[in-house]
């Protein structure tokens, strides 16, 4: 196996030449704006760049407040639902968290 790996002097020359040619062949490159790593497909670059970002926040579509977790946003959404008091006095607002908005 290691005959084709760079650590083995035997295969090193061939390996090096291949790498140089591979690099030359990949002429179209998409460069990461954060770390300058190179990718040959724009979607791969997009996937990579996502990993640089700190975290994703979930934003409430009604008031714009942001949450780190989607379940927290779902819980928050219930405050926008219209509390409709039934005869028993308890709220029977929208249980799924989605309001009329």
């Amino acid at each position: 196996m290691f005959a084709i790996m760079p650590m083995e002097t035997e295969g090193h020359g061939r390996e090096f030449a291949r790498r140089q040619k591979m690099r030359a062949k990949c002429s179209v490159e998409f460069v990461c704006k954060y770390c300058q790593r190179r990718f040959t497909k724009p979607y791969n670059l997009m996937i990579h760049e996502r990993s640089h970002k700190d975290d994703v926040t979930f934003t409430c579509e009604v008031c714009g407040k942001s949450f780190k977790r989607q379940d927290n946003l779902k819980q928050h959404r219930s405050i926008h639902s219209v509390p409709h008091k039934g005869s028993n006095g308890y709220s029977n607002g929208y249980s799924n968290g989605y309001s009329r908005y």
Binding site: I4, P6, C35, R37, R50
Partner: protein
């Protein structure tokens, strides 16, 4: 300005004192006077701290604002007066002063992020950045303090100061820091520099504490504020680069130094070694957002670390070494997405593969041969350590396979078509041996059924660590796709790496809940987008194998995928999906159409 010698309360017996200059004997009147001066100083600092807590220094008179920074004086032997330095103060007073500075810098960072600063806060930071009163040099001197509390507090404050001051920091400060790291034999002095640089490198611009909402950061109504309009004022990249550059000039010496410390390891160096490895990991981490060109040197000399993974090194050091090596092999975030892999991770991956295969690396895993075997024989032992070593092996195997495939499959390079087959056959034999040893190691340490294939235990092994789980699944999938490019093999390796078995096991682990998959897709904490994209491509190409492998669980599995597609559709229609998910959506639709065709038939 205070022109008198100041003596504070007797030092606490619980803390060690910094080295002091010889003090002259004082009489009781003088002591009373000094005590009152100390009380005044403490009050000044407390008032300074209170103002900082209310986000504004506008109401603090300039004279009292200066006092804490000008310090006090001491009478030398020849009767003349000179200023005392921080290292001569009583420990409690030093700690209180440095903590106040820390509070000041942290407030400045937060206000800068918000774009509105109290002008007085900005002025004090500016004065300190000009090293007025030599405060920064005095903080640097505290790296030699025998009092670990003072040394720790000073390193934290210095890191925050660097972030506030940005590229205006003096290079001589960085030189002093790195030089002391090279020349000292004291672990606490090493820790000081390592801690400062690590904190700067790990700083996240614009991050707020979860407990701090926008309102708690509002300045009082009468605060004289400055509006920060320069967008670069939020960017700490230049100061990070300066710190890394300063370290770079001494890096080879430092690696040799820590290499020799690790070779003859003693527990007194534990913290310094851990901090050094963590700093190294932080510098090369994708999350650090540092240029790979600027940090190239930090990818060298990694091979020695694999050699250090031996039974002479305790488990805690193993864990940090493995953390660093796993970060170098940033497979899910980077390497899996590149067509041409850099030399350094490839070389590391080969070495790990070789160490497992030929030098029985897994046998040296700490706790393995202890009295009660792994972790003393009860519970799961050191499960995180085992998880890290499994991930390292899986990543190394995936990098090795990927590199061989991308090199050998390039027909334009003059290599014959059979080159690929020949290379892959050699690789496959070695990979099978590595995975066999990994399987054996895991089953001897964990209570898995002897017949459970790697493709299933990988999910069980990582069920409490979603980033490891998904990256491990990507590695297994890529190894399977890379090795079985001529169709699934009719041997144990096919079962061992079956992507469908892994996916079905994963779907079971998340209780067939499509919301979990959606959360993983939206979040960027794992590489689930990459995994799902590649897995869907795999089953599109190998649909009949997918159906056979799912067997009775086909309907349940497809239900999850269909519900996931509907959920993505809903979000996309409201333009709520945070990125372009269309490639995944199209693949889900394709698989759904295969499934519907299947039902009709």
């Amino acid at each position: 300005m205070v022109l008198r010698r100041n003596r504070a309360h007797p030092p606490s017996t619980k803390m060690e004192e910094p080295a002091k200059k010889k003090q002259r004997i004082i009489n009781s009147d003088e002591q009373d006077e000094n005590n009152s001066m100390t009380t005044a100083m403490v009050t000044e600092i407390e008032s300074f701290q209170n103002s900082l807590l209310s986000q504004c220094l506008c109401n603090v008179p300039v004279s009292s604002l200066r006092k804490p920074f000008t310090g006090s004086t001491v009478q030398a032997g020849d009767g003349t007066y000179r200023m005392t330095t921080l290292s001569e103060w009583e420990p409690d007073r030093t700690l209180q002063f440095i903590s106040a500075l820390q509070l000041l810098f942290d407030l400045a960072i937060k206000q800068n992020t918000r774009g509105i600063m109290c002008s007085r806060v900005a002025d004090v930071c500016e004065a300190l950045s000009r090293n007025e009163h030599g405060i920064i040099d005095q903080i640097l001197d505290l790296s030699c303090s025998p009092n670990k509390f003072i040394s720790f507090t000073a390193s934290r404050a210095l890191a925050s100061f660097f972030i506030v001051t940005k590229e205006n920091i003096e290079l001589s400060w960085l030189d002093r820091l790195t030089q002391s790291l090279v020349s000292t034999h004291s672990p606490s002095q090493m820790l000081f520099t390592l801690d400062v640089v690590k904190r700067v490198v790990e700083h996240k611009d614009g991050s707020t504490h979860p407990l701090e909402d926008g309102e708690s950061l509002t300045s009082p109504r009468n605060c004289n504020t400055l509006t920060i309009s320069d967008p670069e004022s939020l960017d700490s990249t230049p100061v990070k680069a300066m710190c890394v550059k300063a370290l770079e000039s001494k890096w080879n010496i430092l690696v040799s130094k820590f290499d020799s410390i690790l070779s003859s390891y003693t527990p007194q160096h534990e913290s310094a070694v851990i901090m050094f490895l963590d700093l190294w990991e932080s510098i090369i981490s994708v999350k650090a957002n540092l240029s790979v060109v600027d940090t190239k040197l930090f990818y060298s000399q990694l091979d020695n670390l694999v050699v250090l993974l031996n039974s002479n090194v305790p488990g805690i050091i193993w864990r940090h070494l493995l953390g660093l090596l796993n970060e170098v092999l940033c497979y899910g975030s980077t390497l899996a997405l590149q067509d041409v892999l850099p030399d350094e991770p490839c070389s590391l991956a080969h070495l790990v593969v070789r160490a497992v295969k030929d030098w029985r690396l897994l046998d040296a895993l700490p706790y393995r041969h202890g009295s009660g075997r792994f972790g003393g024989g009860s519970g799961d032992g050191d499960r995180p350590l085992l998880q890290k070593v499994i991930l390292l092996v899986l990543k190394s195997v995936a990098v090795t396979v990927k590199e061989t495939r991308s090199d050998s499959s390039d027909s334009s390079l003059g290599s014959e078509a059979e080159d690929l087959d020949a290379d892959m056959a050699v690789i496959e034999r070695s990979i099978r041996e590595v995975l066999r040893q990994l399987d054996q190691c895991v089953k001897s340490l964990m209570p898995f059924h002897p017949e459970t294939p790697l493709s299933q235990w990988v999910v069980q092994m990582f069920h409490d660590q979603d980033d490891f789980l998904i990256e491990g699944m990507v590695c297994c999938l890529d190894v399977a796709v890379g090795l079985f490019y001529r169709g699934p093999p009719q041997n144990d390796l096919g079962h061992m790496l079956s992507p469908t078995l892994t996916f079905v096991q994963f779907i079971r682990a998340v209780s067939h809940d499509p919301d979990v998959l959606l959360d993983l897709l939206v979040s960027n904490e794992t590489c689930f987008l990459l995994y799902l994209l590649r897995f869907l491509k795999y089953i599109r190409r190998n649909w009949s194998e997918f159906i056979t492998c799912c067997a009775r669980e086909l309907d349940d599995t497809m239900t999850v995928l269909i519900r996931l597609r509907l959920a993505i559709d809903r979000l996309v229609s409201k333009a709520l999906f945070p990125y372009n998910i269309n490639p995944v959506l199209r693949l889900l639709e394709k698989c759904e159409s295969f499934y519907e065709g299947n039902i009709e038939n």
